[in-house]
């Protein structure tokens, strides 16, 4: 796990160095790049690609959740002491999905149906295609599609009906 983290971090550093502020990386590209690099550097670290992408997807999920939490805390705290060394890289909220709500819903889904939760993690956080996901989970692509459809509907409902804790956590 730390290995994957380090690799993801190194890739991010490369992107930052090339200075394209505001640019975002898609999970697919990131996980692929990380795998290619790790496979070249330490071929024995991961049994196979499936093993790696599963861990990478989980890492991505943790990273996004951790950052979303930090951002929320910073917003609440007002963050008066700023950073000094370099500036202009204050990250912005990624568009679209509320990562914290999704993460919470996904944890609840895992209790009901771990396979569905795993499929969502791989497809959304790992950026895997239906076929790749089927490969990793060890089921048919048709099953992945069916499970994905239901999980997505369930999560959509869970996320939409979840209370907006951003507003309620601290009145």
């Amino acid at each position: 796990m730390p290995l994957v983290y380090d690799e993801l971090r190194r890739i991010a550093a490369g992107y930052i160095r090339r200075e394209r502020p505001g640019q975002t990386l898609q999970a697919t590209a990131l996980v692929n790049e990380a795998f290619v690099r790790l496979a070249a550097e330490q071929p024995r670290s991961f049994a196979n690609r499936q093993h790696f992408v599963a861990i990478a997807a989980l890492s991505m999920r943790q990273i996004l959740v951790q950052r979303a939490r930090a951002r929320k805390a910073a917003k609440r705290g007002g963050a008066p002491n700023r950073v000094t060394l370099d500036e202009g890289l204050v990250s912005t909220e990624p568009r679209g999905v509320d990562v914290l709500a999704l993460d919470e819903a996904l944890t609840r889904l895992a209790a009901l149906d771990s396979e569905q939760a795993r499929i969502v993690e791989l497809r959304y956080f790992g950026g895997l295609t239906v076929e790749e996901t089927a490969n990793v989970v060890g089921v048919s692509p048709a099953t992945v599609k069916r499970q994905w459809a239901m999980a997505r509907a369930w999560l959509k409902r869970a996320v939409d009906t979840a209370p907006d804790d951003g507003a309620n956590a601290r009145p």
Binding site: L8, R9, I16, T84, L85, S91, G96, M150
Partner: protein, 477 residues
């Protein structure tokens, strides 16, 4: 929901999904075998499915900065003898945490390199230098560096945690009251005197780096790119530009030789922004004609030789800044709520004292007859004259405070000395009158002496206190 129910829900959902949209409901009712709740759940899921267009369709995206931000330091974790509370700031290379020093039980700001740059030798050296530079400066308006620590290879600076907001947010909230702007500029200049004396040039002074604590004190932070000017081993390569362009002096922008006057330039920009809310180089900026803007103008001269030569010279100019409110075109921001309440008490105090003084003329008039002769006349005339001066000045201040608050400081500056003298004479004369009539008219004596003591207490204790509360912001320096 039980596992069994979930499995049945799956069957219902998938089965209904295979049906044409208009037949789904019928299909569900038929296959739910009377389980109303499950049929409804499946129906809700189908509805969500139909409205989930685009939801999770694209894989997650991540900002590279977020990835680089993967620090293991989270809330509640310990590093050395510090316990992390939360992250309070982050830049491309550094991260600042609010933490608690467990040995001393005080909050600290921990500034570390982000994990990504943690092993970068040049940056580590820069952080060390920053700590040393800032540690050499001892000044109330400079955030104090407590320690430079290294724990498990992680290098960080522990410094004073400043609970407040940045000058930037104050500027953005509207034009600062101009006296306040000058008071802040004086604090910054004074902090720079200490820094420059210690051989440290800030080099990145800007409103974001000036923090205002909750009690209104100014703290200059981020000697982040500060460089000890006596040291020639440059960490940034010769000619490298570090800083924030909008606040950088021309010679700094082109990577030329710089000295303390780049900080003077930055103060000029900040002062202009405080006074007008706009950067001095903003096209069409509304001009202000005050002596303060004259100081700012001199700070931002392109040729460093035409600026103030030192922070001390700038400080002296700011302190001389004549309080000439008639030249100010800036709108005066209303005083803060707590200040206005204190102001009310101060006004009340002035009015009450005026009334008491005026009333005291009558018992003193009686005392004059009792004492008789020249002495009686002298005592009475003294009390009358002192009371007239003291009351007139107080009513003048009271009236100014209510009608022309912007000129109050100026009026106070001119009246305070006279008021003190007249108060002292008034109280002394009352004591004399009280002592002289003591035997014949004890009632008058008691009143005279009691009021004398009251007046003395008032001008020695009460008045300084109410004035302090009411004018803390402008009198701070």
């Amino acid at each position: 929901m039980t596992r069994e129910q979930w499995e049945r829900l799956k069957v219902l959902f998938n089965g209904a999904l295979d049906q044409p949209a208009e037949r789904r409901h019928e299909w569900l009712t038929l296959h739910a075998q009377g389980d109303e709740l499950l049929a409804r759940e499946a129906g809700a899921l189908l509805l969500a499915h139909d409205t989930a267009e685009g939801f999770l369709e694209e894989p997650a995206v991540v900002d590279p900065t977020d990835l680089a931000a993967l620090d293991e330091l989270g809330s509640g974790m310990r590093i050395g003898s510090y316990e992390i509370e939360r992250e309070i700031g982050r830049g491309g290379m550094g991260v600042v945490y609010l933490a608690r020093d467990l040995r001393l039980g005080r909050p600290v700001a921990l500034k570390a390199l982000s994990r990504l740059h943690d092993s970068n030798a040049a940056l580590r050296e820069r952080l060390r230098r920053e700590a040393r530079a800032a540690a050499n400066i001892s000044h109330p308006a400079v955030a104090t560096v407590y320690a430079l620590e290294e724990v498990d290879g992680r290098l960080f600076i522990a410094s004073e945690y400043i609970d407040g907001h940045s000058l930037r947010s104050e500027i953005e909230s509207g034009t600062l009251e101009w006296r306040r702007a000058i008071a802040i500029a004086i604090d910054i200049a004074s902090a720079l005197c200490a820094a420059h004396d210690a051989g440290v040039i800030h080099r990145d002074l800007k409103p974001e780096n000036v923090l205002i604590t909750r009690i209104g004190a100014v703290k200059v932070v981020d000697f982040g790119i500060a460089q000890i000017d006596s040291i020639n081993t440059r960490l940034t390569r010769e000619g490298d530009v570090i800083g924030t362009p909008a606040y950088m002096a021309p010679e700094q922008l082109i990577g030329g030789t710089i000295d303390v006057r780049v900080d003077i330039y930055a103060v000029g920009v900040i002062l202009t922004e405080m006074l007008t809310g706009q950067h001095p180089l903003t096209p069409g900026r509304r001009s202000i004609h005050t002596s303060a803007s004259e100081i700012a103008r001199r700070c931002i001269q392109t040729d460093p030789n035409e600026r103030y030569r030192s922070a001390r010279e700038l400080l002296a100019a700011l302190e001389r800044e004549p309080s000439n409110p008639t030249a100010v075109t800036d709108p005066v921001t209303p005083p803060l709520p707590e200040a206005s309440r204190a102001r009310w008490w101060w006004e009340f105090h002035q009015a009450a004292v005026s009334i008491v003084y005026a009333v005291m003329i009558w018992p003193t008039w009686l005392a004059r007859h009792v004492i008789g002769g020249h002495t009686g006349n002298a005592v009475f005339v003294t009390v009358l004259a002192a009371a007239i001066v003291a009351v007139t000045l107080r009513l003048h201040l009271w009236f100014t405070s209510r009608s022309y608050p912007a000129e109050l400081d100026w009026a106070r500056g001119r009246s305070t000395g006279w008021m003190l003298v007249s108060d002292a004479i008034f109280a002394s004369a009352l004591v004399v009158a009280g002592v002289l009539v003591g035997d014949e008219r004890p009632a008058i004596a008691v009143i005279e002496i009691a009021v004398a003591v009251g007046a003395a207490t008032s001008f020695a204790v009460v008045e300084p206190a109410t004035s302090r509360a009411a004018f803390r912001r402008t009198d701070r320096l």
